[in-house]
């Protein structure tokens, strides 16, 4: 982790007092900021709350919201609740994995996407449902998968292109793409 990132982590820790009960809330904020729980930060959390690192590690590996390895920029949450299951969600999941060239749920090599099954986002009337970041995509079929993912691919591409043109020094209106 960089010095800036460590400072950001310390800032988050500073928002809480050092009660054991705050552990999960702290980890949620760290996960939200860094898209994963870095090892150094967990050590700091353990020291702050005065609990053994094993306790923090146990909590970090118990709850599905947390990840010890970096997650992708876009979280693709495929709902595998019962209603979505009977309406064909497993096949939609397979299609998404195939499209992103993943063998199973996880993060793509370019760290753009993380595919995670979730059990019920509570939109059962619109099954099968996939949530990408904060948008919920209802009534998904295999045929719609590629189009849906492409929307996010385009965004990612655009941001990368802007970043690379800025680096090259062309940081003016010509950076507008797509």
């Amino acid at each position: 982790m960089t010095e800036t990132e460590l400072q950001q982590a310390d800032f988050i820790l500073g928002q809480f007092d050092d009660q054991r009960a705050n552990l999960i809330a702290i980890l949620q904020d760290i996960q939200g900021k860094f898209y994963y729980l870095p090892q150094e930060v967990l050590g700091r959390v353990a020291r702050k709350l005065r609990v053994p690192l094993t306790d923090v590690y146990q909590v970090a590996t118990f709850y599905r919201c947390f990840s010890l390895v970096p997650r992708g920029r876009h979280q693709v949450q495929v709902c595998l609740g019962t209603a979505c299951h009977v309406r064909g969600a497993p096949r939609v999941l397979d299609r998404i994995l195939t499209d992103l060239k993943l063998a199973g749920p996880g993060t793509t090599r370019d760290r753009q996407f993380t595919v995670l099954p979730v059990r019920c986002v509570g939109c059962c009337g619109l099954a099968p449902v996939v949530r990408v970041d904060n948008s919920t995509h209802p009534h998904l079929t295999q045929a719609k998968v590629r189009g849906m993912l492409n929307k996010y691919r385009l965004k990612a591409q655009t941001q990368e292109e802007i970043a690379s043109t800025e680096e090259a020094g062309d940081g003016d209106a010509t950076a507008q793409v797509g």
Binding site: Q19, R20, A21, N22, L23, I24, A25, L27, Q28, L49, D55, Q58, V59, F62, Y63, R64, C65, F66, C79, L80, G81, T82, A83, C84, H85, V86, R87, G88, R91, D94, R95, T98, V118, R119, C120, V121, G122, C123, C124, G125, L126, A127, V129, N134, T136, H137, P138, T141, Q142, A143
Partner: protein, 638 residues
């Protein structure tokens, strides 16, 4: 807004609100629950606001986003007040027509009205829609009338009058007595009598804690989400009344991580309640003190179990504790704690306002009041249904649910989530109450009701639930950790056509062991889906085992796809979506599927317009196969 310092101030404030609001003023309400939002409700809201501004009508006509109406299949939903006109499947492009109709003579926009599938006629009001007509929306009725982010809407419909009554005329013992007499049972799943739980907690000394369980982990259930999003004050009011009865000063609401909107609305509601003097140091001048904290879950179904939830609140892993001692004796931080479900808390103001006798008059002998179900799956009208206890499954599926899509045959109804069981179609006249469901091998659970038809494989469903429970088991006790794994392995083998009849005995033994010896209710009920499907659908298991055939044509290793040559028009649509690139054929020619490359993904079936793609089951490669006309089902003759 100065704090309200007494019950009298609250009532006069409320009266003032009602006078200030003109009941005849037009108001366009759009459901903004998670379901309708996903379907585009916010675009509709934006569209309406733009349209009103365009005509300069933004001061004459209000636009409001409301809580979940429950009829998610037909969202986005709208109601135009004061007429009560109910619109479904509204799009942003309809804004012009809607605004026009409201500003000129209030003639409803025909195409947005709900059309009754039986009579073919359009109905105007919500109560006329069959989905709603048979419901008794004691808890959910206000969702469509209020903006959940505005406490004054809640006050306007009578909110916090139960609290006012409690603080000014009742003692804590009287409150507990009222809840007991109402017959209210915990709506989280186990159905423990709520009044008794409160009474047992009061037998232990202060300080005590109060928790609202908003974990709602059952996949397929979203009632708690809708209530927390759509009417969070109803839950908060119930909790304040509970805190009064139990002598509690710190309360917690535990909301699962997957419900960000519910968290947001709840926090806003609590902030507003504090602002208005309904929470905090001196509630309505009564001297009562209560602070409510919202805590987010972190992705663990087991945290819906009371002791696991408590552990999670304490910053530990969600591992259940053996009971006894029960949370009412020793709960959060070792103190006596009452945990109740969202719907249970929301029922408390209703009981106080309308009286325990009224509440006890609804429902059956041992199951009082209304129950909220999420009716989902293979059903025409998906959504949230609130009915009195004792309504039959037949009414739920056909009268309210509108039957099965495509006219397919009902096969089973799964009630109670992963802890519940599958009720077969021939028990469809079963009245829904706690005892009757348990007798049939299922359980009420928190109200998830998943309808399954002839295209659902019950062995696959058993495997699905076991996979879920294996994933969600906390893992601390041996029978659950090991049992869920072993059962899932056996079921996967059976689904792949490699099962034996001995496997069924193993499933029954493992199921028995888990039920008897697991540490918590997750493990004790984990085998229910398997045991009920074995009880009612054994023939499907045997077909998988003896014939390597999946009667519902779901289990991928036992099915094959083929194209009926007489129906194929060569449109080539299937080729574009084929995951295995295994469909051969030129455009305009009859296509064929190469079985060796087919991954059985089913995408071709999805896109085939002339319905030429067929699914077969049983081993097709053997000689002497016969075809039965109906659905391309191949049955082996040897």
């Amino acid at each position: 807004m100065p704090r309200l310092k007494s019950v009298e101030e609250l009532e006069s404030f409320r009266a003032g609100l009602r006078t200030a609001r003109d009941p005849k003023r037009p108001c366009l309400t759009v459901c903004a629950g998670s379901g309708c939002t996903a379907a585009g409700a916010h675009d509709v809201l934006a569209g309406l606001r733009t349209e009103l501004a365009k005509h300069g009508l933004q001061d004459a006509i209000d636009v409001k986003s409301t809580g979940c109406h429950g009829f998610c299949e037909r969202g986005p939903l709208m109601i135009v007040w004061p007429d009560g006109t109910f619109y479904n499947q509204v799009a942003a492009s309809d804004a012009a027509a809607i605004v026009a109709s409201v500003s000129n003579g209030h003639v409803p926009v025909e195409k947005l009205l709900y059309r009754d599938p039986v009579s073919g006629k359009r109905v105007i009001h919500e109560e006329e829609v069959p989905f709603y007509a048979r419901q008794q929306r004691v808890l959910f009725g206000n969702n469509g009338k209020i903006d959940p982010k505005n406490i004054e809407d809640y006050l306007n419909v009578g909110g916090y009058s139960a609290l006012a009554r409690v603080l000014s005329t009742m003692s804590p013992e009287q409150v507990v007595d009222a809840v007991t007499r109402s017959g209210l049972r915990g709506r989280g799943g186990a159905g423990f009598p709520t009044g008794l739980k409160w009474k047992l907690c009061r037998e232990n000394p202060v300080p005590r804690y109060l928790i609202c369980n908003g974990d709602e982990g059952d996949p397929g259930a979203f009632m708690d989400r809708s209530l927390l999003e759509g009417n969070p004050h109803s839950v908060v009011e119930g909790m304040i009344i509970g805190a009064f009865a139990l002598g509690v000063q710190e309360a917690y609401v535990y909301v699962r991580a997957e419900y960000p909107l519910a968290c947001e609305h709840l926090r806003a509601a609590i902030d507003q309640a504090e602002e208005y003097g309904l929470l905090g140091d001196d509630i309505l001048g009564s001297g009562m003190k209560l602070y409510v904290h919202v805590v987010k879950g972190a992705g663990a179904f087991v945290c819906g179990e009371e002791t696991a939830l408590i552990a999670s609140l304490e910053g530990r892993v969600g591992q259940p504790q053996p009971r006894p001692p029960y949370p009412a004796q020793k709960g959060l931080w070792g103190r006596p704690t009452v945990i109740n479900n969202v719907k249970t808390w929301a029922s408390v103001p209703v009981i106080i306002n309308w009286g325990p006798e009224w509440y006890a008059g609804i429902g059956t002998e041992k199951s009082k009041g209304t129950m909220v179900f999420s009716l989902v799956g293979k059903i025409n009208n998906t959504g949230l249904v609130e009915v009195p206890m004792g309504v039959t499954l037949r009414e739920m599926v056909y009268d309210i649910g509108g039957g099965i899509p495509g006219g397919k045959a009902l096969k089973a109804i799964q009630i109670g989530g992963p802890s519940g069981g599958c009720i077969p179609a021939d028990l469809i006249d079963l009245p829904i109450d706690y005892e009757r469901l348990t007798e049939a091998g299922s359980m009420m659970g928190s109200g998830g009701m998943v309808v399954m038809d002839e295209t659902t494989c019950m062995v696959d469903i058993a495997r699905y639930f076991m996979e879920f429970l294996e994933d969600e088991s906390c893992g601390q006790c041996f029978p659950c950790r090991e049992g869920t794994q072993r059962m899932r392995q056996i079921l996967t083998r059976i689904c792949a056509g490699n099962g034996t009849e001995d496997d069924l005995l193993l499933l029954e033994d493992l199921g028995w062991l888990m039920k008897q010896a697991s540490l918590c209710a997750l493990g004790q009920t984990a085998a229910n889906p398997v045991l009920t499907t074995l009880r009612y659908f054994r023939d499907e298991y045997l077909a998988h085992i003896r014939e390597r055939r999946c009667p519902a044509k779901v289990c991928r290793e036992l099915i094959f796809y083929e194209i009926e040559p007489t129906l194929c028009d060569g449109c080539h649509a299937c080729v574009h979506v084929c995951a295995g690139q295994g469909i051969l054929g030129e455009k305009g020619q009859v296509h064929t599927i190469d079985r060796a490359k087919c991954t059985r993904c089913g995408a071709c079936l999805e896109v085939c317009q002339p319905k030429a793609v067929r699914v077969g089951t049983g081993s097709p490669a053997r000689a002497g196969v016969a075809r039965d006309g109906a659905g391309g089902d191949m049955v082996c003759q040897n």
